[in-house]
Symmetry: C2
Subunit: 502 residues, 2 copies
């Protein structure tokens, strides 16, 4: 025993993962912990996948509904998708195997605003939640659960599930205890009250998750690292994008539209995001805060540099090096990091009130400022919308960032018409590529188009975009948003047909 289970009632329920997985029934809806590769259960999902594989061999295939916080890891999404053990996947995924199965039409997936999930589960939209499989970093003497490296939807899973399987992962830092803020004040309408957060550092809940011991049908001990991808230093493109974003912030401060300490930052995951954060570490802004989904390497560095006072999120997403640093010095971060349930980290009410500066990556943007965050060529899902909609719609400034081209230049990230819309023209303030920044606020569609083409498009694609826009203004059905309907999606069609938008 790891010593992490300090309560006897829970300790008495310790079993092996295989045994725990046997307690999940075919057809169950299973709510698992996990958000961006942090805090997902490490052993029960693989044991469940083995069971599923066996059920296929026996000619009676078993499937479960799989609900999580957000993305997880190969041991969870990958393993269960591989054996086709998932009936309906929600609300987000980024696993290569599950992505492939979805795009082959072999796995049903519904892609949901991350702030909506808890409410909808309470509402009963997805059916009953049968089992929760939740990783924790420990269990206190009095039976409270110490969350691990993500909170996600765990509060909801533990409340809503009939049966609960816990994984206690002794790899997680003991220093996590006290770093979470689990708010138990949500309700369904008409019983909702204001969420009393007016600053990212406001603590409104408890550091522990509650779970009635009699719902717990198994406890599994693990000692396994999170899926922590190694950190790639920002490339030139990311640094150029970051430079444009920082220039924009400086201009906004000089113009009096942003305070000197900016407003709470929200930042998607990935290289560009990390580059922006790195840039902020060297920039003129002090006393920064973050109200975001994920604490990544760049955030930790910003805290280390003293620039970032406080980061509120629902999960970590760190490189192995950063995890090691964090685990060694957890106490130093105790009053600077808070992890909350994702219904709070992403809550429209709080995001709007705090006035977050939202920065999110995209698949493509169109000249009129519509954003596709999820689909390749209109049909193939990449990951999902995640929290980008929660933040962009309610942000003080919603910024979308992307390299101007992909696939070695065969794909332009700026297109005449996006092949799928996740953020409408009404929700997009600023688009940034390494080429430049287009501030679309207050502009009519045609003015936006000029700016997006001239500032953001790659030089290789600029002439074709100008030509499209020019011709559309001559012959479109209407001149508010001039489009050529027989050509608007031809760039994507060309890519599908011959591998290039050129």
């Amino acid at each position: 025993m790891s010593g992490r289970i300090r309560n006897q009632q829970f300790a008495a329920k310790v079993v092996e993962a295989d045994e725990a997985a046997e307690l999940i029934r075919p057809g169950d809806n299973v709510g698992m912990s996990g958000f961006t590769g942090a805090g997902y259960p490490k052993e029960v999902p693989e044991a469940l996948a083995k069971r599923v594989a066996k059920s296929h061999e026996q000619g009676d295939p078993m499937k479960v509904g799989l609900w999580t916080g957000a993305s997880t890891a190969p041991e969870l999404d990958g393993a269960l998708a591989e054996v086709e053990g998932i009936d309906l996947r929600l609300p987000y995924q980024s696993d290569p195997v599950s992505r492939q199965k979805i795009n082959e039409g072999r796995l049903d997936y519904t892609d949901i605003h991350l702030s909506h999930v808890a409410q909808r589960v309470w509402q009963g939209i997805y059916g009953d939640l049968d089992v929760a499989v939740v990783e924790v970093s420990g269990i206190t003497e009095d039976g409270r659960l110490i969350p691990s490296s993500s909170v996600g939807n765990n509060k909801t899973w533990l409340e809503q599930a009939d049966r609960v399987i816990l994984e206690v992962n002794s790899w997680q830092s003991e220093g996590l205890e006290g770093m979470h803020d689990v708010y138990y004040g949500t309700a369904l309408p008409p019983h909702r009250k204001p969420i009393p957060i007016t600053h990212p550092s406001d603590r409104i809940g408890e550091p522990y998750l509650d779970c009635p011991p009699d719902k717990v049908i198994a406890v599994v001990e693990t000692e396994s690292p999170d899926r922590n991808a190694s950190f790639t230093p920002p490339d030139a493109t990311s640094e150029q994008i970051a430079g444009h974003v920082l220039d924009f912030f400086e201009l906004e401060v000089r113009s009096g539209r942003l305070p000197r300490e900016l407003l709470p930052l929200q930042s998607g995951v990935g290289n560009v995001a990390n580059a922006v954060l790195a840039g902020l570490g060297e920039g003129p802004f002090d006393g920064l805060t973050a109200y975001t989904e994920v604490i990544q390497d760049g955030m930790l560095q910003l805290i280390d540099s003293g620039k970032l006072q406080m980061a509120s999120a629902t999960a970590f997403s760190l490189s192995p090096t950063a995890v090691e640093r964090f685990n060694r010095n957890t106490a130093d971060y105790r009053d600077k990091i808070m992890l909350r349930p994702q219904e709070i980290s992403n809550h429209p009410e709080v995001v709007r009130r705090l006035g977050c500066l939202a920065m999110n990556g995209i698949v493509e943007a169109d000249i009129f400022g519509n954003i596709n965050s999820t689909h390749l060529m209109g049909s193939k899902i990449q990951n999902g919308i995640g929290g980008s909609g929660d933040f962009a719609r309610n942000a003080y400034v919603s910024i979308f960032v992307t390299p101007s081209q992909a696939k070695g230049g065969d794909v332009s990230s700026i297109v005449p018409m996006v092949s799928h819309v996740d953020h409408t023209e009404h929700d997009v303030d600023v688009i940034v590529t390494e080429q430049g920044l287009a501030d679309l606020r207050g502009l009519s569609p045609k003015k936006r188009a000029e700016l997006v083409i001239e500032r953001c498009a790659h030089p290789d694609y600029k002439p074709a975009l100008r030509d499209y826009f020019q011709r559309a203004q001559q012959s479109a059905f209407g001149l508010h948003t001039p489009h050529l309907l027989d050509e608007a999606l031809s760039w994507h069609h060309n890519f599908v047909q011959r591998g290039s938008m050129r």
Copy 2:
């Protein structure tokens, strides 16, 4: 003098409309009152339009930026658009003349979530507001302004404008005094606090608008009715749609997903909305409330029938008959109707907290559940997104309603791919046509497509939709959201080319 101006300081500023219009300078940004044809200034805009026309004759054309609450009337939008006196129009319009000018490319228009406008004006996104032209129904002895039949953005205009022109309209009912709730507690981040509304009836502000008298450069007396379109009794199609919506509510109540008194209703304007409200008047639900933008005839009838306890909105939109009834019996409605600023009536925080049941009309829906609320054939603006995004994204259930076809059957409201997206697949719960209702909650895109085609499409278009979806599943680039890129917009293209989607 009408006796409506009970303060001497304001009374001393009374001038004719022509004189007031002279005080507006070329290039000014002008914030005017008005929301769905209620409470807009009746005389100064036309006087301004005359001035603009003269400036054209003199070879030195004058234009102003025109900002309102939402739509207004021919005397405002129509008059100013006709003489091409508008530089940039925001945030919404529904006027035939201005629509035509926009679609001819002669008028710049930016179409904004109605809850976003005040914040963005405070933020300085649209430049400085030079002049406010605001209709009120009276001025008290101590110089407070009694709002008229809409509140809209008036609080913001009066606070932000350098100079203020008031129109005091004695046509408006004196009984309006006390019916408004103007909240002065908003701020820019990082100074925002929770908005303390937990029930549609909560009064959190004051019944008057404040304006420093020294900003007031002119007061104009008018006696003119609002643009009140006559009420058309629901046709068979609207009644069928309403019937499906009511069946859905009953099912939700029986399933325990909605309380018996439902949740606060939000309803767009128009025939279908009125039909749903009429249906509720005859339905089994009591103790209803509304938290919505607009009080229309159906809402008034629901109050009269005793079914609707309380309606919070930002404006009236009544037929002449209903206005007469309201004006005659204003006292009866005093504790059942409250008009608030549109930043509060549409605030995401409040809409989400109350859990509104949002019902909005659309232009078209696609088989995967994306909604176009604004554009004809991808390019021509109809009206604008209005508050539909504020409500749909944050609703407890977001319902979109439309007849299944338009233009005598030449246009299908259900298409393979919408030609413009205002509400993404992530924001659309239920689609209803006279054919039936598709409850899309919790479904993957392909399952949604089956349901939308089978339940909502008109029989004349069903075979073609089935055929498209069938073939897309055979050859799309990915099978999450199977589309045929060279065909997805062909229905719209056909309509543009030969006048029919058939």
